[in-house]
Symmetry: C3
Subunit: 325 residues, 3 copies
């Protein structure tokens, strides 16, 4: 167990040691049990978290807000549209000043090419820890909840196979932060990671390289596949979700045209049957129902999406309690 | 006193026993006294209430938010415009996931034909209690505050006459949830209920039938009248507010044309003088001043609208404390 | 030390005695130390502050929200766009009802000719204290933070010279509440106050008269100058910010044309060098960088703008603790 996380930023899990992440898991499980039993755990009494949203959210907002309050603190929901943020305020000003007012600053800014820069800028100027609630590159808290769910359902992740797959969606070009953070963390926990996606849906090369390095160091494996069904075969964890072809184009129309070439990348019962018999189906939600995944799978026996969503709460409470106390 | 309300949904008072509602009244009075004296009453310490608003509000938001905080908990104000709710999330997903994050879910969704369905859908999926902050059919917390006010001002409601009247307003087609919830609850407390409205402003037939049944069971009476002034005559409680002719049309223009036929339905001093000498004038606010009711009445000696508005706070705190603890 | 501030409104510092303001300073310093040391100071446990914003804000919202939460209470952020305030609710209704729900009401309404009237209207009807988070005439909490900063940096303000100067900005016609509140309070603390501005940028005559009277009573001085550089000469505190020519015109275009005559009124290194060697540069932020003030000055050795911004938190916590407990 590590005890040196006070004041740390959670921008990407790559900046945290494996031991520190193990501690987060341990604390998250303990907080989950405490909530189930009604045992008080107000480790952040009267502390305040600024939650800055530059993009709307349901689960992220709900889980951070509820979690902070359950820890005895106050979450301040700051919507970019109802303040004058970005109206004359530099990241240095926001970071320096909010770092004095608040005990933590959580930020969601997914704009391609800008989100992570903004968060880094605020973090550099802030004396309080900065938590990444999703940027264009990373979504660390989602993936911590995912890891927790995998451990709960599958035990030790080492040697287990996880399929991190692209899937079709028609709604809009979704960020690539989930698959990127996922291949980074799963490889550090010794999993056999299959990144499955059509050729136009590459992830950032340096992220892929880090995933490869992680796999080598942690006795896991990492491979890239372009065949949706082959990617499913025999896998223990099917994590299939859509993202935009952002490394090719960030233009919505162009991206849509590319995306529409792969309408048949939908997770259905036939395909989930190709995975291991006790495979779990994961998705961070919201899913494009019957487009990204069939209702039969989403609501079916392999799906753990609600438990996965719940774990956002517990994992984030662990990070907040460890960094902000 | 009943002690079995933990986990119950408050969607309509009809689903609560008379004894349970008596308990809410008792707890509400106690909480009111405690607040007046500054006696701590943090019965929901570190619990979290999601307050989901699909329609703006002043009193409802203020009273739920303040009440939850005074009970030691945290109210999370979730405006439908600043989250991606309804952007891929089904009621099952909201209910299941928010039911895990939060200790209670309060919802205001007044869209005709949709509001109640939405709330029922969330409640079905949620493990946490769901509180109706007004839907298209019911407004239970308003009416609990109204009942509390009637008891405070008039003592035992049995045998007292209440006039639940339509009134003219020019602003927009208001929901019918207030008069509907009012005739449902007043009849259960043995009041003589007069529902007074022009022919186009009928309430839902099954609600009216339930009110009739309630009256019979609880030794009250229920009658429908179409003459504004006759409705006032000798009454103890004048509760006159506008609503839309929603059973005839939900079209704003058509509705306005029908409404404009009854510009004369304004509560003024001449008319209030037809009621009992010590009659009270009630309105849930905001009123269309000098259109729905004259300022002389709204600000006059019969009016109890501010005490009535205050009781929103105490009644809702009672419901929250009893269901969420 | 004064002990009679419970229930008082903070609309302008003029309505508070010098002794009371000394007490605010003392409490603010104590709360600052307590926060630095992590000493609990939950003087408003389970109290609730309504924060009504009719105009967006970063520092004001952040500092009030964080401060209230650190005191153990709950700040309710009420954005005028997400409630039906001003949609049928009079100031009397808001004041009377919110004064019953909440333990304090903070309001930001800067509309020229309306803001202060609105706040006064609410305060008149409210049983809970009303705090002015900036109106068209006053910005008392900013200036309390400014005074605290001056005392921290310069010691006893008596006999020190402060330059309250207009500066050029291109963004929009800013309120005159900061310079007005500043000349009112600085004169009461015996400072030599120089109000420096082009002829079109006069402040309200009765505010200027009050400042003159304050100076006479408190052995300070007050003079009006129209030469930017002469205003700086030898001064201890340079407080130079833009405001609109609101006493001449509230029309944005006309105002802009007048403003553009004085593009040269920018605080730069050459000019700051005219002030006292150890002069401090103050600005309430956000500044129009390199328009109102050069980056070299804003980020330079004379600038105390971040410490000044931080003191918003501590000064406001003092006011809240003293009025709302």
């Amino acid at each position: 167990m590590q005890t040196n996380m006070r004041g740390m930023d959670m921008i990407t899990t790559q900046e945290w040691t494996k031991d520190q992440i193990d501690t987060i898991m341990e604390v998250a499980m303990d907080l989950k049990k405490k909530r189930a039993l009604g045992i008080p755990h107000a480790y952040l009494r009267d502390k305040v978290l600024a939650m800055m949203f530059f993009f709307s959210s349901t689960r992220t907002r709900g889980s951070f807000e509820a979690g902070m309050a359950q820890l005895g603190g106050h979450p301040a929901f700051i919507d970019s549209r109802t303040t004058q943020i970005k109206h004359g305020d530099t990241t240095k000003e926001i970071g320096d000043i909010f770092g004095r007012y608040f005990d933590g600053i959580a930020i969601r800014e997914v704009t391609w090419g800008q989100g992570n820069k903004y968060i880094r800028g605020v973090a550099e100027a802030s004396r309080a820890p900065v938590l990444n609630m999703q940027c264009d590159i990373y979504h660390p808290h989602q993936i911590l909840a995912d890891l927790m769910t995998i451990i709960e359902k599958k035990g030790d992740p080492r040697g287990k196979t996880i399929t991190v797959s692209w899937a079709y969606a028609s709604s809009y070009l979704k960020p690539i932060s989930v698959p990127q953070s996922l291949i980074l963390l799963a490889t550090r926990f010794g999993m056999n990671v299959r990144l499955v996606r059509p050729p136009e849906f590459k992830l950032m090369p340096d992220i892929v390289q880090q995933a490869r390095d992680n796999a080598r160091k942690h006795h896991g494996s990492f491979e890239i596949m372009e065949d949706f069904e082959a990617g499913m075969a025999g896998s223990d964890v099917i994590y299939a979700k859509s993202w935009g072809p952002l490394l090719v184009t960030a233009d919505p129309e162009e991206g849509k045209a590319i995306t529409d070439k792969y309408k048949d990348w939908i997770t259905d019962e036939r395909r989930i049957a190709m995975a291991a018999e006790d495979a779990i189906y994961m998705h961070p939600l919201p899913a494009d129902r019957d487009i990204e995944v069939t209702s039969a799978v989403l609501d079916g026996p392999h799906s753990v999406v609600f438990d996965q969503a719940e774990n956002r709460l517990h994992a984030q409470k662990a990070v907040m309690a460890l960094t902000m106390s």
